[in-house]
């Protein structure tokens, strides 16, 4: 038994470090050509602008989808906000800024809110493939109100879990923060408990099939893999589950997938 446990811990420890940072590991993630990333970033920006999106929810593929659980394609989600931009050199323009929750580089069990550019957003991608939800214009304005208010940061919980339970405030990941902000906008509230109650009542998270051994040993490799905030079943917020939620309640204007040469409506 001791030998088996040793092997399991070794396996978890040797495998997970390369993958827990999903998309930022040089060994596990091929580097996309910078020119391609920039071109794709501009394509996504122009496409969204052409559709009149002031605020959108955008997701990227940070890992090989073949290695992800069924029903999950995107690994990072953030708000894109159309803005008037002034760079450090004084140059100005109009385009999107990205409002992210990122894992901290030095401590993957913690996160921070980071604003960056579309190119930054796709720099760590596995492939040039984005999921886009353009909310209803009314909801866009409400989202902007929240993003521009102290509520946006107040809803951030720096205790990070890859598989955070969106019905709990114990841990949070980027997708859950996006969902929390969305709920704050929908219900015009900054009350975290009320937001969680509404998520539990109306949002269907993505189930992730895990057995007890996996749940037991994964945290041995990284605290970011904890499932302590879950009950018997593990369910987490994903781009797909947010898209389904918004579609079910007629909250989205358009939902689609965009690649360098294709655009497909979900």
């Amino acid at each position: 038994m001791r030998k088996i446990l040793t092997i399991l811990v070794f396996l978890a420890g040797s495998i997970l470090p390369a993958s827990v940072s999903a998309g930022s590991s040089r060994a596990a993630n091929p580097v996309l050509p910078a020119a391609d990333v920039a071109t794709f970033s501009n394509r996504v920006q122009r496409d969204m602008a052409g559709r009149g999106a002031s605020v959108a929810i955008v997701a990227r593929v940070g890992r090989d989808p073949a290695m992800l659980p069924d029903g999950i394609r995107y690994t990072h989600v953030a708000f894109w906000v159309y803005s008037r931009i002034r760079q450090a050199d004084g140059s100005t323009g109009r385009g999107y800024r990205v409002y992210n929750l990122y894992q901290k580089g030095g401590d993957l069990t913690r996160s921070e809110l980071i604003q960056d550019s579309p190119t930054d957003f796709f720099a760590a991608a596995h492939s040039l493939d984005a999921g886009v939800i353009i909310p209803d214009p009314k909801l866009q304005r409400q989202l902007l109100d929240v993003i521009n208010s102290p509520t946006y940061a107040a809803l951030h919980n720096p205790a990070y879990s890859v598989l955070a339970n969106p019905g709990s405030s114990q841990f949070q990941n980027c997708t859950e923060h996006t969902l929390d902000v969305l709920m704050a906008a929908l219900y015009d509230t900054a009350n975290r408990s009320q937001i969680k109650a509404n998520i539990a009542a109306h949002f269907q998270p993505q189930p992730v099939q895990l057995n007890s051994l996996q749940r037991l040993f994964a945290p041995a490799a990284s605290g970011a893999l904890t499932t302590r905030d879950h009950g018997p079943d593990v369910r987490t917020a994903t781009f797909g589950s947010i898209a389904r939620f918004m579609t079910a309640y007629n909250l989205s204007d358009q939902t689609y997938r965009i690649t360098p040469d294709r655009l497909v409506r979900f």
Binding site: L8, A12, I15, L16, V20, S21, G23, S24, A34, V37, A38, S41, N42, G52, R63, L68, T75, Y82, S83, R84, I85, T92, G93, R94, G95, R97, L101, Y102, G105, G106, S111, E112, I114, Q115, D116, T119, D120, A123, A124, K138, L144, I147, N148, S149, L163, A164, G167, S168, Q170, C174, L186, A197, A200, V208, N211, Q214, S222, G231, T238, N250
Partner: protein, 120 residues
């Protein structure tokens, strides 16, 4: 052996579900910035670290927008290199005991949910 391989594959899959990885440290240092927000009369200035970028959201939902000037990336001039991140196994997380509507282990349900979401 089969069991171990299966476990390895599944744990790998678990680890990749919703990781919110930042770009490489190099890239992040160059252009990703911590944001701070200052609300003012309904329109906020979003100020990014070290004064490198200032972005003010524009309310224009529904109409066709344009991407101009500094918002456009100059193709081929910036390295988009993914860097290694050091895994820190530090734990010591303090669980946040917040009430919410659906009982889950370690928490207490004490808030009633509102009705289904709808556009206001």
């Amino acid at each position: 052996m089969t069991f171990r391989l299966k476990l390895a594959g599944l744990t790998l899959a678990v680890a990749t579900v919703a990781a919110c990885a930042s770009p490489s440290a190099q890239h992040a240092t160059q252009s990703a910035n911590h944001s701070a927000q200052a609300a003012s009369h309904g329109v906020s200035a979003v100020v990014t670290g070290a004064g490198t970028v200032t972005a003010v959201p524009i309310v224009a939902a529904g109409s066709t927008l344009s991407i101009t000037g500094a918002a456009l990336e100059e193709v081929g001039t910036e390295a988009a290199v993914s860097g290694l991140e050091v895994l820190d196994k530090g734990l010591g997380l303090a669980p946040a005991q917040t009430c919410y509507g659906s009982p889950v282990r370690g928490n207490t349900a004490c808030v009633a949910a509102d009705g289904p979401p709808r556009l206001r």
